[in-house]
């Protein structure tokens, strides 16, 4: 039973570039949530996708966008990268909504130079 998988594991970009991160949910899960974790902090909610639509969004600018595909996998896109976007990006999957156990992937560590 495959867990949540994320790719790539590490990524280095420069300011102003664009990046796409990918997530495949745990088998049987239909909901994907994305989080940003800065060094020394807890994860912060970016947005959640369900039935290929953004269902909820946290306090992040429009530079952060996403997509969910019919197979429930998801992408996180960040445009016009800033130094402050350097963080660990975590994907979590669940069945239905937040009030279910959230299962996290290993994350993508994004460094902006």
């Amino acid at each position: 039973d495959a867990g949540v998988t994320q790719s790539p594991t590490h990524l280095i970009k420069t300011r102003g570039q664009q990046v796409t991160l990918r997530c495949s949910p745990k088998s049987g899960h239909d909901t994907v949530s994305w989080y940003q974790q800065a060094l020394g902090q807890g994860p912060q909610f970016i947005f959640q996708y369900y039935e290929e639509e953004e269902r909820q969004r946290g306090n992040f600018p429009d530079r952060f966008s996403g997509h969910q595909f019919p197979n429930y996998s998801s992408e996180l896109n960040v445009n016009a990268l800033l130094l402050g976007d350097s963080a660990l990006y975590l994907c979590a999957s669940s069945l239905g909504h937040f009030n279910q156990p959230q299962h996290f992937g290993d994350g993508t560590r994004l460094s902006i130079l």
Partner: protein
């Protein structure tokens, strides 16, 4: 929004010792989860426990929703227990998890 406070922020234990981690939250919740983030950054779900008590091996957790706190107990700690423990809560309805700042645990052999 809901506030989550975890204590202590840091904890150093000798291998074999027991510990209690606390999570206080500022509003009613219908979702509370404990996570362990290992030194490699992997975030593992330990408990989904909006109320009551659960046990899984050396770990157990209790949430007293009416008093707005949850406790995570670690018994006979091992070096592999090291890492950061996060409490995350969701308030009434289907709301995103709000994480505390975590408790950093170091278990020394």
């Amino acid at each position: 929004g809901i506030q989550v406070e975890q204590s202590p922020p840091d904890l150093i234990l000798q291998e074999g010792a027991n510990s209690t981690l606390r999570c206080n939250f500022s509003d009613s919740v219908n979702n509370l989860q404990w996570f362990h983030q290992n030194p490699w950054g992997q975030l593992i779900n330990l408990f989904y426990i909006p109320s009551g008590t659960k046990q899984n091996g050396r770990l157990s957790a209790t949430t007293v929703a009416t008093e707005r706190y949850s406790l995570l107990y670690i018994s006979s700690s091992q070096t592999t227990d090291s890492g950061v423990y996060f409490c995350a809560v969701g308030s009434r309805g289907n709301t995103p998890l709000v994480f505390g700042k975590g408790t950093r645990l170091s278990v020394i052999a």
